[in-house]
Amino acid sequence: MGHSAKGILCEGLSKSFHRGAVTAVESINLKIDQGELFGLIGPDGAGKTTLMRLLTTLLKADRGNATVDGLDITEDYKMIRQTVGYMPGRFSLYQDLTVAENLNFFATLFNTTVSSNIDLIHDIYVQIEPFSDRRAGQLSGGMKQKLALCCALIHKPTVLFLDEPTTGVDVVSRKEFWGMLAGLRTLGITILVSTPYMDEAMRCDRIALIQAGEIMQVNTPQGIIESYPLTLYAVKAEDTFRLLQDSKAYHNTRSCFAFGSYLHLTFRGEDPNLVREYMEYLYRKGHDSLTINKIAPTIEDCFMYLMNSKPMTSTRL
């Protein structure tokens, strides 16, 4: 390939399972710059974990190529294993070893020591240090996740892969965790993080929206929101369920999803009269205390839009 660029580069990366019966990822093209905090956003089963496992050399690609910090994932896999940190989606440290022992173990696996790398993990480690003699299995979810992050960082990786690090963690710990990632980014570590939570996407430098093994769009979170081509309305009524049913049945409705107590709605066409006609329709249906506002789309709205607009927008690097 001849790429010596730092960061991550994927070219047509494909992987299927069960002898091709199940396509996990299909022709992934992706370029992640060094020091970037890059989010892989998509629902469960979109292929996020497969892509991570391909890039961390745990899986072999069927087709295509990729480099991590200029190292080829098939030819230089041994060198990649020296330089990347990987935190799998499932907590996979030794539950019967203590916090300190786990950390020591992973440091030794990479031929290093905890003390020589303590500066990198210091800010995170101080939070779990009071529990350093506690077995990993007895830590709370948030603490486990911090320990796992420490273990993934203990050998000063240049690229960090985090597979759904915040799944199953409480809101406060999630916020804290993203704060830690922002801190790591300032140290120049390239971070690829996957998450099914659309709200977390805003914390990334750039994100890729991934669905059914294919990348739908790559952009900054702001860029993705700005590229949303439709006018989006938030609608609210007394009876949200009936509102959803009626809105879906309305002939000019293009898309309609429930977001909490609101409905996010787009029309076929941009005619300003559409809103008035729609409201009249709802009144006829007997809805009370109706409100409708034009709103800025969220990442989730963009995701829904991309998912439903066929053919899928092809990805350009």
Binding site: T57, L58, K78, V84, Y86, F105, T108
Partner: protein, 373 residues
């Protein structure tokens, strides 16, 4: 080297912290070694005999008394009709029926010959054949007594007589415990080594820690060696406790041969068995799968190792299997060294085969262990 020591430290920490594992590893095999040899006793006692005595003479009484006096037989019936004895067999209260015909004493004295009828309940094959042969021996003995007596009384004819004296070598009293304990001990270390190594590695797969190991630069052989050494050491300890404490003080078995020779073979044999466990772990993803697969093979290893039944009396195909079974060789070495005092020269061939097993199983496992799926 440093990394292996560190892996060992981690493994031992985990083993010693596992509240269930250590008692399982040390306690269970020793309890089995205490219990199994007592049960695996081929000596048949308490054979129930029903006598049908149509004769009721001095001779017939003497025969019955002689049989009862051996201690192997228990008289469960003494009747004058065969039908009654037959009924006892049907009720499973008699294993053998010895029928003494009328005029037994008379014909024996006058014509020099007599007939006895022996009926055997062959539901329990071992008991039937062993019981029948015991009884035949006693009757032959009884026969010899009578002839000797007659010769003394008449002392005119001196006929030649062949007497067979058997002597049991290496196990003079034919004590089955001597024979079974070394074999069972060999089998127990097989189970520990095989199961524990298979389960341990699969456990890392199951809880996902193997992922973390796989993305690290640690090499395959370091990881494998770090996994095998703890179970090699534990198996050695279990064997030593079994050999020097249970065998010695409970069964009073002191190896006749060189104990270092035994350990040399044990050391190589354990590498082979741990390789087997490792191989199982590379083909399975969960502890349940690993347990099932290991159990299947260990069962075959056990029954086809010559532990309970002699390999020589197996049909040719089964014998071929037995010789593809590493357990067979180690049990032979165990029995040879412990009972017979066999030397290194006797088992050179076994050594070559065991090294072969160790290399083959570990190489296969090594190739099949993938850090990448």
């Amino acid at each position: 080297m440093k990394i292996i020591l560190f892996l060992l430290e981690k493994e031992f920490k985990q083993i010693f912290r596992n509240k269930a594992l250590l008692p399982m590893l040390l306690g269970v095999p020793l309890i089995q070694l205490i219990i199994l040899p007592l049960a695996a006793d081929y000596e048949i006692k308490n054979i129930n005999v029903a006598f049908v005595d149509h004769d009721r003479t001095t001779y017939s009484h003497r025969l019955v008394e002689k049989i009862k006096a051996t201690g192997y037989f228990k008289m469960t019936g003494y009747s004058t009709t065969y039908r009654e004895a037959d009924r006892l067999i049907e009720l499973d209260r008699a294993d053998l029926v010895l029928e003494i015909p009328s005029q037994f004493e008379n014909t024996l004295i006058r014509e020099g010959k007599g007939h006895l009828f022996l009926a055997v309940n062959a539901i329990n094959g071992t008991k039937a054949s062993v019981g029948a042969s015991y009884l035949s021996r006693i009757i032959a003995d009884f026969n010899a007594d009578i002839r000797f007596q007659q010769q003394q009384e008449s002392s005119k004819t001196r006929r030649g007589r062949i007497a067979i004296q058997t002597s049991n070598w290496y196990n003079p009293h034919m004590d089955y415990k001597y024979f079974m304990v070394p074999g069972i001990l060999a089998f127990l270390v097989t189970m520990i080594g095989g199961y524990m190594s298979a389960l341990n590695i699969v456990k890392e797969k199951e809880i996902g820690t193997i992922e973390q190991i796989n993305v690290s630069p640690i090499s395959k052989h370091h990881f494998i060696i770090g996994k095998l050494i703890p179970f090699w050491l534990i198996s050695m300890v279990v064997f030593s406790i079994g050999q020097f404490i249970v065998s010695r003080y409970l069964y009073h078995i002191i190896p006749v041969g060189n104990i270092f020779l035994l350990y040399l073979f044990l050391a190589i044999y354990l590498v082979a068995i741990l390789g087997f466990g490792l191989l199982v772990s590379t083909y399975t993803d969960t502890q349940q799968q690993a347990m099932s697969v290991a159990f299947f093979f260990v069962m075959i290893f056990l029954l086809m190792s010559g532990l309970f039944t002699s390999v020589d009396s197996m049909p040719p195909w089964a014998r071929a299997f037995a010789y593809l079974n590493p357990v067979t060789y180690f049990i032979e070495v165990m029995r040879g060294v412990v009972l017979k005092g066999s030397t290194f020269n006797d088992f050179q061939g076994h050594l070559v085969k065991m090294v072969g097993f160790a290399l083959a199983l570990n190489t296969w496992a090594w190739f099949n262990y993938r850090k990448t799926s």
